[in-house]
Symmetry: C2
Subunit: 333 residues, 2 copies
């Protein structure tokens, strides 16, 4: 038996028939404010805990994506979702309300491309016809779970990032037209020995490099073949590291390279290296990129969501940070 | 477009070409002691934290499954794994050592059947040829993460369960003979309003019922058609509840029904309702059941891993427990 390549070339394209985005208040005043479906008035969504607020954002965004696909929940075959909360409870409680067969995914901030990759594989393999993909994060739940109590008001390192409050969701289908997923490349787990959990960009860049190189080699393509290559949340420092790493491997990331984390906040804010979180690439893809793809402003895109797979326990026990990056090729040509 | 059924009937059977099991010390003196590949001498595996011990158990079991398949890691196309630690770090650090494309799954104690379901779908859909599936848990990491510090020595409720220390792993392939997966049914998330995290059996039984009924209705089968139907970790109380719930739906679970959680400990021990955890059904399936299937003692089996999807945060915030159950049909006929 021949080993398959790391890249899955889908036998039939899988269409993104709808997408929805809900941004937090801070994200809603950033450079992408004109692209979001909805901007939350505040980060509590009228709930009494941030965790309930995050869950409500998941449900509202999932509902909007299904509604925009002109479907009801019971017309959806499958749901894949993930987030950053312990035991991915935002996704599971959302799935409890949505009531379709569901598997939770954990790839940290690489989750969104992970859901797209698995969903389009299952659709292309003719196991399901439609799948709801959801990913998101909330600054306040992530900050108090991974770092410090919000009330502590800790100082941030200059190389830190800001967890995006926002959710992106989309419905994939075997039948459609326009924007479609054509190839998928799931990442290996790469650990370059970075231990500083504030420096996620540096930890994740080697994983992004590994997946991108595997994809280009598998498909005999190069960065120039794409109108846009977007990583998930490497931030400014991480993006610079990726550009250098790719150059060493013989691939030039040029003007077509961008990072979702660098797009979501204005530079004058306190977000240091930019946005991060399972909501980062999900929010930016389901607002800005999906619009540009529909308008054929971009015809060929690679989305490479990046994730750092540590926990507070492993960090406190002095472990390094294993990272991954999942890639999907999205076309509208 | 017609909605597909909840049950996936695989176009081609997917073979379980190898399996491996590593049990903790307590599990290694239970009724199944003769079936495990390996029994750990102690629960620390020579490491200085229980978390590192759990990770080592994952790696050793994954390695054993690949070795028993007469393969090397780089001959494996894909890996799916999950566990109970926050951010499923046991799986991610194991994947970092295994170095094959990897997606982490979180379905709590339903994880093992979830990995089998996704892996066999991807193989049947011709996206990959081979997949490594891993799931496990460790009493000491789970207890201190979900409940109390081990040193506290809390009293256990009579309806509580004991998290299994153990890992099960297997390699699935498109090519093989003998034991094979032929159908898959992923669960919806079902919440019957149980809030007591000690009473997992009662919380999970309705999810097991929901998936079993969906499967029997989709495939026009009944419990009698199977030599054995094994739920993951409902425990004694949860199993009794499931039998009652199924009876109400018109399905009689008879002598062929068993629960992995009820099989793993001797009744005189302090495990109350039996075993639980992401390692429970993984360990029992990859030891006892796989042997009985190979010997054709059982020719047709349903494995229904059950999972409770809450976190300590949702519990402390007074939420109910959403649950799920994933099912795979395994044959050797």
């Amino acid at each position: 038996m021949k080993k398959k390549t790391q890249t899955f070339i889908l036998k039939q394209p899988v269409y993104i028939i709808s997408s929805a985005s809900l941004a937090g208040k801070k994200e809603g005043v950033g450079p992408l404010k004109g692209y979001f479906d909805r901007i939350a008035e505040n980060d509590t969504m009228g709930e009494n805990t941030f965790e309930k607020a995050e869950r409500e954002m998941f449900y509202q965004t999932a509902s909007a994506a299904v509604r925009k696909a002109d479907k009801k929940f019971d017309e959806i075959d499958f749901m894949l979702s993930g987030d950053l909360t312990n035991q991915i409870v935002s996704s599971s409680y959302c799935a409890s309300a949505v009531k379709v067969p569901f598997v939770g995914i954990y790839s940290a901030c690489a989750t969104f491309a992970g859901t797209l990759g698995l969903a389009s594989s299952l659709i292309s393999g003719n196991l399901i016809d439609t799948c709801l993909c959801v990913s998101g994060s909330h600054f306040s739940t992530a900050e108090r779970q991974y770092r410090y109590p919000l009330e502590f008001g800790n100082q941030r390192q200059t190389y830190s990032q800001w967890t995006v409050t926002g959710v992106g969701a989309c419905v994939l289908s075997s039948i459609g037209k326009g924007v479609k997923i054509t190839k998928v490349c799931f990442g290996k787990v790469i650990d370059f020995g970075v231990k500083d959990i504030a420096n996620m960009g540096a930890a994740m860049a080697p994983a992004a490099m590994d997946t991108l190189c595997a994809f280009f080699n598998d498909t005999n393509t190069k960065p120039d073949d794409y109108d846009v290559i977007a990583t998930g949340d490497l931030g400014k420092l991480g993006s610079d590291i990726l550009i250098d790493l790719m150059k060493e491997k013989g691939f030039e990331l040029g003007q077509n390279y961008i990072d979702c984390g660098n797009m979501v906040y204005s530079s004058m804010e306190d977000c240091m290296q930019g946005g991060s979180g399972a909501g980062c690439s999900a929010l930016v893809f389901n607002s800005y990129f999906i619009k540009k793809l529909k308008e054929k402003r971009f015809k060929k895109m690679l989305l490479v969501s990046t994730g750092a797979l540590m926990s507070t326990t492993t960090n406190q026990q002095g472990e390094t940070i294993p990272c991954t990056a999942h890639l999907v090729e999205v076309n509208n040509d």
